[in-house]
């Protein structure tokens, strides 16, 4: 799959905002968020969010409930327009882009509460991910011109190919809403991969999964990264998953990053322990 290396991509400025600085010092990052922030009325939900994600990095965004993790995803995908700050995707400023343009530019995501198109088939869900890859006009679709058949055939094969990552080809004709929970979560990832992203955002991919399903998911996340050579950023409460596969972790509390680093560094960081467990009583 062709990846988007644009010549104008900048080098990471020193000092780096990389989660693990030594990892991405001299490579062009896929995502760079600078001083990102958003206010809802008088409430500051996210403030001073600085992060750099490398091209094939798997990184985690963790933090207590309400820390602003999903808000960060909503900012990156422009579901919310940031109040402050800059988002550079592959060195390109996403200022002024809307959600569908950001999607075309290379950010894909899944949702905390699954948001599949329930009344469409599994294959059609994936084909919607491929929406911008399929090229034929309105008239071609109504009159069934040769372009329609050719493009639909390519889309069909591509959809099955993507579904085969999770061994889901057999479910292609089922309605997405009728799939079991775990399969729906996997389908969301497949659909997101259909948009040919260079950065995949996973919002609590292991929510509601049992330990063996989670273990399988961990393998699959690594497999996807290796196969597609993309960066993956995930929000997750399952610490086994986060510590097991993330190369870098950023910890968010009350909308601010309180710690960044490797899993080991983050685990032993006093501020993180305090955020999760509360302050130790003096005396």
């Amino acid at each position: 799959m062709a990846k988007r290396f644009s010549p104008e991509t900048k080098m990471v400025p020193f000092p780096s905002n990389a989660i693990v600085p030594e990892r991405d010092m001299d490579s062009r990052p896929i995502l760079e968020a600078r001083n990102l922030g958003i206010d809802f009325g008088g409430l500051t939900a996210v403030e001073d969010f600085n992060v750099v994600v490398g091209r094939t990095e798997i990184c985690g965004l963790i933090g207590p409930n309400g820390a602003g993790k999903t808000t960060v995803f909503n900012l990156l995908t422009k579901v919310y327009q940031p109040t402050r700050g800059t988002i550079l995707l592959d060195g390109r400023d996403t200022y002024g882009m809307n959600t569908s343009q950001v999607s075309s530019a290379g950010i894909a995501r899944t949702f905390q509460n699954i948001r599949l198109f329930d009344n469409l088939t599994v294959e059609d869900n994936v084909k919607l991910g491929l929406h911008n890859e399929i090229k034929y006009g309105m008239l071609g679709g109504i009159l069934r011109m040769p372009g329609y058949w050719k493009q639909e055939k390519i889309a069909h094969q591509r959809a099955l190919e993507l579904l085969s990552i999770f061994d889901m080809q057999d479910m292609a004709d089922q309605k997405a809403g009728s799939l079991p929970y775990g399969a729906q979560r996997r389908l969301e990832i497949v659909r997101a991969l259909g948009t040919n992203p260079s950065l995949l955002l996973l919002d609590e991919p292991a929510a509601g999964m049992n330990p063996s399903e989670t273990a399988e998911l961990m393998e699959n996340i690594i497999k996807i990264r290796d196969m597609f050579q993309i960066a993956i950023m995930l929000i997750e409460h399952d610490m086994n998953l986060v510590m097991g596969i993330c190369e870098g972790i950023a910890v968010l509390n009350f909308g601010r990053i309180i710690a960044k680093g490797t899993p080991a560094e983050v685990q032993s960081n006093p501020a993180v322990i305090e955020a999760y467990l509360g302050k130790k009583k003096e005396g």
């Binding site: 995908t77 579901v79 809307n98 959600t99 569908s100 999607s103 075309s104 894909a108 995501r109 949702f111 948001r115 599949l116 198109f117 329930d118 009344n119 469409l120 059609d124 084909k127 919607l128 991910g129 929406h131 911008n132 399929i134 034929y136 309105m138 679709g141 109504i142 329609y148 493009q151 639909e152 889309a155 659909r191 997101a192 259909g194 948009t195």
Partner: protein
């Protein structure tokens, strides 16, 4: 034989309602708004076709094409100017705007074409006689039913199989998720209006071929009945619009024939009320209870 002829004229009238109802149901399904100006787009379609035939002297079928093009442009224009700025507004605001657009179109037509009814020349004329002349079916009836059938098949396959059709269904289910697939939601809504308005033009021509007097208010009553048909069949559902439209046409035609011409509309709406009492989401609509 008499019954058969009433039934056939009912189906044909119902086909027109069905074509109009599609515009309501598609727009509701995707933009979640009731476009009450839809009935007046039908009227504009009728006038355009009338003008093309009368003033330009072009053949009837060409006037349909011109009417479709003009109404498509009108639909996109109305959506872009009146509804798009209100995308985030409460649905009541959009509803009032739609009523405003409806009056605007009616009064513009009044200004351009005047209040006196124009006599529309049906695009097809003549009739078929069957069973030794005891059953007469006009060609307009046949053409209407055939066109409705073609639209039904074409639209269903477009919505279920093509890229744009799937994008429409995705937008109707979850606009946020659809945008994250790289689907341009605004353009999808525009396209929906374009299709609905093009169909309205076809309906306008067929309607005027049935009752050849054309006035600025021609579209409002069929518009309201077609909206009823859409609700009757389950608003948001395309097969529902067809079913609702045709059933409504048959009920109206039979009520006129066997009960009372004056009461036909009252009977029609009484049936609607009864159906909605039993099936609140319409015949084919899915009732989704709100989660608390």
């Amino acid at each position: 034989m008499e019954f058969l002829s009433y039934l056939i004229s009912g189906i044909s009238l119902g086909s027109i309602y069905a074509i109009i109802a599609l515009g309501y149901t598609m727009v509701y399904g995707i933009a979640k708004m009731l476009n009450f100006a839809h009935g007046d787009v039908i009227m504009v379609g009728g006038y355009i076709s009338f003008c093309v035939v009368t003033y330009l002297g072009l053949p009837g079928w060409l006037s349909v094409v011109v009417a479709m093009l003009v109404c498509t442009a009108l639909g996109i224009l109305i959506e872009g100017l009146a509804y798009k700025p209100l995308r985030q507004a409460p649905s009541l605001a959009v509803l009032i705007t739609a009523i405003g657009v409806s009056y605007f179109l009616q009064n513009s037509a009044l200004l351009i074409w005047g209040a006196s009814p124009k006599v529309y020349t049906p695009i097809v004329s003549g009739q078929i006689e069957m069973f030794g002349g005891s059953l007469k079916i006009s060609w307009v009836t046949v053409v209407t039913v055939v066109i409705c059938f073609i639209i039904a098949v074409g639209l269903t396959s477009f919505i279920s199989k093509s890229r744009m059709g799937k994008a429409m269904r995705a937008c109707s289910e979850d606009k946020g998720a659809a945008q994250l697939m790289g689907i341009n939601v605004n353009r999808t809504i525009s396209t929906t209006f374009a299709i609905g308005s093009a169909l309205a033009a076809v309906a306008g021509v067929l309607l005027c071929s049935f009752s050849p007097s054309l006035m600025p208010t021609t579209g409002s009553m069929p518009g309201i009945k077609a909206f009823t048909a859409a609700v009757f069949g389950g608003i948001g559902s395309i097969p529902g619009a067809f079913l609702g439209g045709i059933l409504l046409g048959i009920i109206e035609s039979l009520a006129k024939a066997y009960i009372s011409t004056q009461l036909s509309n009252a009977i029609l709406f009484a049936v609607l009320i009864i159906v909605l009492l039993v099936r609140p989401a319409g015949l084919l609509g899915k009732y989704v209870p709100e989660k608390v």
